[in-house]
């Protein structure tokens, strides 16, 4: 996990960022997941324990399986692993294909037609 810095913008317009090697090594060159959409706030949880002998899984896959023992969003997984979102989406696709994780997509906004979610959030915030 990386610390937020004083200035986002110094990274945001970072002209020094060269070709990125490591994220592509982790995904073996793949830019897209084999399956799944993986919104920033899709919730990921592990379905079962996994052994290091599971074919085709790298250390980052195993790290996700261990991490998502508690339900975490895609953004949290990326932050904890300190890997870019695109890379984490590819890894999650591999895990979803093997049914090692369960993924709950957020509901699209137009489906939020009742006040229930809003009221839950307000009550939850008041209770903090």
């Amino acid at each position: 996990m990386s610390e937020p810095e004083e200035s986002d913008e110094s990274r945001w317009i970072d002209d020094h960022a060269g070709p990125v090697v490591r994220p592509y090594a982790v995904t073996r060159g793949r830019a897209r997941p084999v399956t799944g959409k993986f919104d920033l706030i899709s919730l990921v949880s592990t379905t079962r324990a996994v052994s290091t002998r599971d074919a085709g899984l790298g250390p980052e896959h195993l790290a996700i399986v261990a991490l998502c023992d508690r339900t975490l969003s895609v953004a949290e997984v990326a932050a904890h692993l300190d890997l870019p979102l695109g890379t984490v989406r590819v890894l999650l696709g591999d895990l979803l294909e093997r049914r090692l994780v369960r993924v709950i997509e957020p509901r699209p906004a137009p489906v939020l037609t009742d006040d229930g979610i809003f009221e839950q959030v307000i009550n939850g915030l008041r209770a903090l």
Binding site: S7, W12, V20, A78, F118, I122, G124, L125, L128
Partner: protein, 205 residues
Amino acid sequence: MGYVHSDGRTNGSLSDQLPTAVKILIAGGFGVGKTTMVGAVSETKPLRTEELLTEEGVSIDDLDGVEGKTTTTVAMDFGRITINETLVLYLFGTPGQDRFWFVWDELSLGALGAVVLADTRRLADCFPSIDYFEKHGTPFIVAVNCFDGARQYQLAEVQQALSLDPDVPVLLCDARSRESGKNVLIAVIEHAMRSQRMERENRSG
């Protein structure tokens, strides 16, 4: 309530036990206090996630053979508030305002609402955020972060200077305060709920 799984399956009765996640965006100019507010109200210190982009601001997901292409990163700070056993609220500080709008598109998709933080010494810094949320129909409020030494403006003055729709709430806040941050979040949710009710009523004639 129905939850759509990645494999397209929609749950029936089971759905009530499944967790769901919602998000609120915290926008505004550089240094206005976005990350500070995210940290003040979240249950952990702000987390950071990065997306890789080409210099042109295109998501690498949209390209083939990206290995050799120059990339840059866009960082997003975010935090988490567990509302109850089945509902998690994420707060995302939006990244810089003038490049990579598609990251904003991704962030604003499905957002309950947005807070535009404003600093009265640099009010114009929040114009792009306001333009964006107006254009995309994201319910938003404006929260004026009260920095020490900044002249105190009447909220009506701010509303006028920003040419806001009179429905858009404007309030004062202190981005460093958890209590103040909570009130801002409650205000944006109440505003979003009102906006949605009005839309429903308009639609049903």
